[in-house]
């Protein structure tokens, strides 16, 4: 078998330059065929999603905005080990660790915690490697449809703990992260 006849997709067609017959050269038959194709589409189901009323369903592996989780007692899980920052291919995560004081026991689960935890949303590619790297199950990518809000200032895209940490009432109610936002 020569290489010309191979068609991996099965859709290969030989170019034909044969002369059209009289009926074909009138084009009327071809136009009629075309009209029949378009009229069939008139009655087909429409694919439009009427946006504000309907929304497109998300893929099961959809990754939305990050959230720093709390445990059942409402304490922050993050121990500022820096593995997420290490795994981040875009270098988006920065953090600063601090030691927990005795009176802060109800706030942080481990003895070390992140006093500053920032994600640069202009760099983040939502790959989810931070989520995979975290040994304390502290950082999650939620199913939130709001990913990054638009802004005119670069500083507004650096999300600190005020935007990332799970709200306290959410931790108390033990809401699953999938329903976040």
């Amino acid at each position: 078998m020569s290489i010309e006849t191979i068609s991996l997709s099965g859709r290969k067609k030989e170019v034909s330059n044969k002369k059209m017959t009289f009926l074909e050269s009138l084009y009327l038959v071809a136009i009629f065929k075309g009209l029949m194709i378009t009229i069939r589409h008139l009655f087909k189901r429409k694919v439009t999603i009427k946006y504000p009323e309907e929304t497109r369903s998300l893929s099961p592996v959809y990754r939305g905005q990050h959230m720093l989780m709390r445990d059942d007692e409402g304490r922050e899980r993050c121990t500022a080990c820096g593995l997420c920052a290490l795994s981040c291919p875009a270098e988006a995560i920065t953090m600063k660790a601090e030691e927990r004081k005795p009176e802060e026991k109800h706030l942080y689960r481990e003895e070390k915690y992140a006093s500053i935890y920032e994600i640069n949303m202009l760099r983040c590619i939502f790959c989810g490697l931070c989520e995979e790297a975290c040994p304390k199950e502290a950082i999650f990518l939620t199913k939130s449809r709001v990913m990054v809000k638009s802004a005119t200032n670069r500083e507004d895209f650096i999300y600190g703990k005020d935007k990332l940490v799970m709200p306290l009432d959410m931790a108390i109610k033990n809401t699953p992260t999938n329903a976040a936002n």
């Binding site: 075309g34 589409h41 087909k44 694919v47 439009t48």
Partner: protein
């Protein structure tokens, strides 16, 4: 008696004018809807229920847009262009027989604004003037591309006017009259002209696509080669007038197609209805029959627009001069021979 005629005619004229405007308005919506449906979309559905107020919203938008006039020496002509297109598109409806006659207040009311003997010639005359709107608009725009587009429109109009006129001659030979009213009356029963003149109908159909500047012959407006076409420099309602004129002329040419070839207001069983139910009701149904026919043709225009791609300019000229004109001359000869043989 004289006053009665004046009142009757003014009512008909106003009704026809309003109908043409309304149809042109809703053709814009219909076009967008049909285009959407043919492409598996939903189309405009926000303004009113199912988008029914969309034409009003469009009109409002066009009125509110900035009025831009290019730096041209022909400001007057720049304004006159859309006005000519618009008025010519609306003028044709005067001679169309919308129905046979109504018997009201002891008088026979003919459902036609004016019944002139040379109605077809009048239609052709007005149609050929309407190209002046595009020509003047394109020329006064002071824009090379607009001018080229207007030239294209004009040459297209000339070449297709010839074939259109010749195709209608065979019909006139058959019916023996130039009056649209008599042509309509002659198609009583199912004696629709399309059965006797299929080739003539086909030529006329293709030519009316070209005359109204609709796809596949919309070379006057071609975003790929000439920016926007003859209306590149137009904005706000002047642009709206050009679009409106296109839809109005589409409505009129659909009506003429229905009147000339598809039996106008005649429908099967019309004479039976007249004898048994009454003249008025039979003729009102006739008006609706004509309306249904022309609506089908408007739909057909849109259907073709979203199916067939635009012609290339030389293909367009070839089709007009080398195919349609000889074909219509052959049609005349064959019709003449058949008329001679059957006499």
């Amino acid at each position: 008696m004289n006053e009665a005629i004046i009142i009757e005619k003014s009512v008909i004229i106003i009704a026809v004018f309003a109908l043409t405007m309304l149809m042109a308005m809703y053709s814009t919506l219909a076009e967008r809807k049909i285009a959407a449906w043919l492409q598996d979309r939903v189309g405009p559905n926000r303004a009113g229920k199912g988008g029914i107020l969309q034409p009003l919203a469009d009109g409002l938008k066009l009125f509110a847009k900035e009025e831009f006039v290019p730096n041209t020496e022909n400001k007057f002509l720049f304004f006159v262009g859309p006005a000519i297109s618009m008025s010519m598109a609306l003028m044709t409806s005067a001679v169309i027989p919308w129905g046979d006659k109504l018997h009201l207040f002891g008088r026979d009311i003919i459902l036609q604004a004016t019944d002139i003997d040379v109605a077809i010639l009048y239609v052709f005359g007005v149609l050929s003037v309407s190209i002046y709107g595009i020509m003047i608009g394109g020329w006064a725009s002071n824009n090379k591309f607009s001018l080229m587009s207007a030239m294209r429109a004009a040459s297209q109009m000339i070449s297709y006017e010839v074939a259109m006129g010749l195709s209608i001659i065979a019909l006139i030979m058959m019916t023996g009259t130039l009056s649209l009213r008599e042509i309509a009356a002659g198609q009583e029963g199912m004696n629709w002209n399309v059965f006797y003149q299929p080739v003539g109908f086909l030529i006329f159909l293709v030519c009316s696509f070209a005359e109204t500047n609709r796809t596949p012959f919309d070379l006057a407006e071609c975003e790929a080669e000439l920016i926007g076409g003859y209306h590149t420099e137009y904005s706000s309602m002047k642009m709206g007038f050009y679009l409106f004129a296109e839809y109005a002329s589409m409505f009129i040419s659909s009506t003429i197609l229905a009147v000339l070839y598809f039996g106008a207001y005649n429908y099967p069983g019309m004479s039976w209805m007249e004898e048994n139910v009454g003249v008025n009701i039979a003729n009102i149904i006739g008006m609706f029959a004509l309306f249904a026919k022309l609506c089908f043709f408007i739909f057909f225009y849109m259907w073709v627009r979203w199916t067939v791609p635009r012609f290339r300019y030389d293909q367009l000229m070839r089709l007009g001069w080398k195919i349609l004109i000889p074909l219509s001359i052959a049609n005349i000869i064959i019709t003449g021979i058949v008329i001679l043989l059957t006499e």
